[in-house]
């Protein structure tokens, strides 16, 4: 009886202590009363350069201005798994699910004092929907499904869809679909410059020193009374793991939630250095590690060469070494995030390119290269110098050397790399993480694989992918949608696309125990306005 009591006590203690499982949420001090004041010290992994949320796609840009703007909808700061109104107080949907009417908050003002109205929402959405804007995130999601946007009155907006699209609300709540002021767009033409950062968010844009720091200050006229709690936020531009880790160990930053996240080595080192002053969590990031090949430039304009790379890449080794085991190799969709929309991982790991051992695939890859380049081929492998991208690139290049593809690594500063890659000025990108904007399984295909995808940097065009993506968006039956996405995944893994899915990335993030009210979001872009974050003494 006594033994049973001890056992029960242990079980209760374990339950109370909580799991060290992935995606655990910070719990420290959850019962405390929020406190006003203090400045959050945060960091951004690379200099964002241009700040236009609608025209750019790196996380560094989104994060730099995340607290400045609001969206029509957003992820609930108290429960990021839910979507709730932000600038919209509520919305109604027509019986055929094709017309959404949003009621906007009244009395909201832009940071420069101008009133917020439905004209701003229309101007924003018209901008991202305009094909000339080439909006890689918000635009590439909304363009295929939105037919028109109408301002019914100053506080009502109506959005008509081309078809009933399941992920529409997810897309609208995306942190990339921030609402910009019509008068600011008219004045500046775009939102690239610091002086154009006029939003309705909890913080005002205060300062941007290139390569050094981005600073926000509290918006005292924020439309939610009592928020934000912080007086300001400072984001230091810290490039590379050693610098970021040094700042974390020295207690100079309050959290590491931005990509690339810490690997186990960094997490262990931080825990040793700061002990119980920090909480460290292993998390999924809804981010895929991709290798891109340009399909209109030699040698990868040849499908055989692309297939050879697909076969030769040892994803398991890349996850083991570059991600220190924190990742899901080979998967086009991550079963942990997409559930049964993802192909069963057992099936994926039996397919050519993913199966182990690699001998058979390496031999076939070598044959494909030798067929076109008997003496092998030299390529330039371009990579951004952030996180451990350069290490990953070295591993990829080392693997391709086995099949006669000899890569020379060329490094770029973060923003410069994005500009170059976006223009298609590369041959091979051995590594580039692409974070999903929503948790919808179709997001990946609209982002990377369709002809008009925002990150289709390799200019690949495949009629079957375009057709399946459109069918997936229109399909309302969950089971049929699942079948469509399974077919898509098999097609991508057995073909020669430009973007090779290497692995779904996981990592470690930490939160200083003084930091309260922060919740990890299912996508890395969301819930980083810091509106409900506060600092304990």
């Amino acid at each position: 009886m006594r033994r049973l009591g001890v056992l029960l006590a242990i079980v209760v203690a374990l339950v109370v202590a909580g799991p060290s499982a992935p995606d655990a949420q910070p719990t420290a001090g959850a019962q405390d009363k929020p406190r006003h004041g203090g400045v959050l010290n945060w960091y951004v992994y690379g200099d964002p350069g241009r700040l236009d949320i609608h025209l750019e796609s790196p996380l560094s840009v989104q994060q730099s201005i995340s607290g400045i703007y609001s969206s029509l909808l957003h992820r609930d700061p108290d429960d990021p798994n839910k979507i709730t109104g932000d600038l919209a107080e509520g919305w109604t949907v027509s019986p055929d699910d094709k017309v959404y009417t949003f009621r906007l908050r009244k009395g909201v003002r832009w940071h420069d004092g101008q009133p917020f109205t439905s004209a701003d929402v229309k101007a924003t959405l018209d901008r991202v929907l305009n094909p000339a804007t080439k909006s890689p995130r918000c635009g590439s999601m909304l363009k295929p499904i939105v037919a028109s946007v109408e301002a019914i009155d100053p506080h009502t907006v109506q959005i008509a869809l081309k078809f009933a699209a399941a992920p529409f609300l997810e897309y609208t709540a995306s942190a990339w679909c921030r609402i910009a002021a019509k008068h600011v767009l008219e004045k500046f033409g775009d939102l690239s410059k610091p002086e154009a950062q006029i939003g309705t968010g909890p913080f005002k844009f205060k300062r941007y020193e290139r390569g050094s720091v981005i600073e926000w200050e509290k918006n005292k006229s924020y439309f939610i009374p009592g928020l934000p709690y912080l007086d300001g936020v400072k984001q230091y531009v810290l490039v590379g793991f050693p610098t970021q880790l040094a700042a974390a160990k020295a207690g100079r930053i309050h959290m590491w939630d931005t990509g690339p996240l810490m690997r186990k080595t960094e997490a262990d080192e931080l825990k040793r250095a700061r002990g119980d002053q920090v909480d460290v969590y292993q998390v999924t990031q809804n981010t895929i590690f991709v290798a891109f090949m340009h399909t209109q430039k030699p040698p990868f304009n040849n499908p055989d060469l692309r297939r050879a790379v697909h076969l030769a890449l040892d994803r398991q080794e890349l996850v083991a070494k570059a991600l220190e085991g924190a990742g899901v190799p080979c998967a086009v969709l991550d079963p942990k995030l997409a559930g049964d929309f993802a192909l069963p991982i057992e099936e994926v790991q039996k397919m050519p390119g993913c199966r182990q051992p690699k001998d058979q695939d390496i031999a076939e890859a070598k044959r494909l290269v030798e067929k076109h380049y008997p003496n092998g081929v030299d390529i330039e492998a371009s990579v951004r110098s952030i996180g451990n991208y350069v290490d990953r690139a070295q591993l990829v290049v080392s693997q391709l050397r086995k099949i006669g593809i000899r890569g020379t690594i060329k490094t770029y500063e973060s923003a410069a790399g994005f500009a170059v890659f976006g223009k298609g000025d590369f041959v091979f990108l051995p590594t580039q993480d692409r974070a999903m904007v929503t948790v919808d399984p179709g997001d990946l295909f609209s982002l990377l694989y369709t002809t008009d995808a925002g990150s289709n940097w390799g200019k690949w065009s495949d009629a079957k992918v375009d057709e399946l993506t459109e069918r997936g968006l229109k399909e309302t039956s969950r089971e049929k949608r699942k079948q469509i996405y399974h077919e898509m995944q098999r097609h991508l893994l057995s073909g020669s696309p430009s973007a090779i899915p290497v692995a779904w990335v996981e990592g470690f993030h930490f939160v200083d125990k003084r930091l309260r009210g922060y919740k990890w979001s299912p996508t890395i872009y969301d819930n980083n306005t810091m509106m409900k974050v506060w600092l304990a003494p």
């Binding site: 080595t265 262990d268 070494k321 070295q394 290049v397 020379t408």
Partner: protein, 322 residues
């Protein structure tokens, strides 16, 4: 054991003999030629013994440099694995299988150190030979002709020397792009003004020598005087500049690679290896220890050798180290 002659005019000959270079100084006086002849007769072994006694630290430096050169030349045979071959487990501590351990990507550190010697020596030698040679010729020619061209060229040298070297190197690498060839070009540009200034000062005194005047009186053209009489007599200074600056070039290359602007990241550069090591200083300290040791030893050896050569060729400093 007779001591070496301590005559000023012997400096070029002694320096040239010290590195086995042919003595081409036709203009030196008869006494210095006789001194060089004595040196040659001694034989290599005797000369080495003399050098070891006079410059024991220099000998230590020469041994280190010799090991570096042999390692660089025989890298393909000496390295147990390919330097870019990431086929092993990560963070293996030094042991019997991997004497210097493996790095964060599972590469054998010993193999990268061995191949790194080749890269360091190649970059060091190529950049210094290129930069110092161009600078030396620039200095000799402008010193010899003097006038407005000399004044203008010296202001250019002033401008280049006014820039902090590492900043200039970083700027050049940012402009040229990351490659081994561009590192050599950047380093050469860094070294040229110093060499030009130093050799110019030597050439200014040589051009006033009676044998130059005699050559001119005999009808020699200015270019013939430069290349037959002035250049050979700047050789000692040139050799010292080369020796001392190789160490400097290796350190700057390592610095550029450490900052991510030197050799491409997968090249086995010692500086690049140090950068990688900073990511795991606590878990894998061998990742910074061995490349750090390689850089330190190489620079130490080259500096010792350079100092000894300088001492041998400078009558005011002869014997200073020994």
């Amino acid at each position: 054991m007779p001591d070496v002659p301590r005559r000023v005019a012997d400096a070029p000959a002694a320096a040239a003999a010290a590195v086995g270079a042919p003595v081409v100084a036709k203009g030196v006086d008869r006494e210095s030629m006789a001194g060089a002849e004595i040196d040659r007769r001694r034989g290599v072994a005797e000369w080495l013994w003399w050098f070891a006694r006079r410059q024991p630290l220099g000998l230590a430096g020469a041994v280190i440099v010799l090991v570096l050169v042999v390692t660089a030349i025989l890298a393909p045979a000496l390295a147990p694995h390919g330097p870019k071959d990431a086929a092993f487990p990560q963070y293996v501590a030094p042991g019997t299988e991997f004497p210097m351990g493996t790095d964060h990507l599972g590469r054998d550190i010993l193999s990268r150190i061995v191949w790194g010697a080749r890269l360091s020596l190649y970059v060091g030698l190529a950049s210094v030979l290129f930069g110092v040679t161009v600078g030396a010729l620039w200095g000799v020619v402008t010193a010899h002709f003097g006038g407005a061209s000399d004044t203008v060229s010296q202001r250019v040298v002033d401008s280049l020397m006014a820039l902090p070297p590492i900043i200039l190197a970083l700027a050049l690498m940012a402009a040229l792009g990351q490659s081994v060839t561009n590192v050599i070009i950047a380093l050469a540009i860094l070294l040229t003004p110093t060499a030009a200034r130093t050799i110019r000062s030597v050439a200014l005194s040589i051009k006033e020598m009676p044998y130059v005047e005699a050559a001119r009186a005999a009808g020699a053209t200015e270019w013939r005087i430069i290349f037959r009489h002035v250049v050979p007599n700047t050789l000692a200074t040139y050799i010292v500049l080369v020796t001392v600056n190789i160490a400097y070039a290796i350190v700057v290359e390592a610095g550029l690679s450490f900052l991510g602007l030197g050799a491409p990241p997968d090249e086995p550069s010692w500086g690049g290896m140090l950068t990688a090591g900073t990511q795991a200083m606590e878990t894998a300290p061998w990742m910074i220890f061995f490349p750090g040791l390689a850089i330190s030893l190489t620079v130490f050896g080259l500096n010792l050798l350079g100092d000894s050569i300088r001492d041998l060729t400078d009558p005011r400093l002869r014997g200073g180290l020994g």
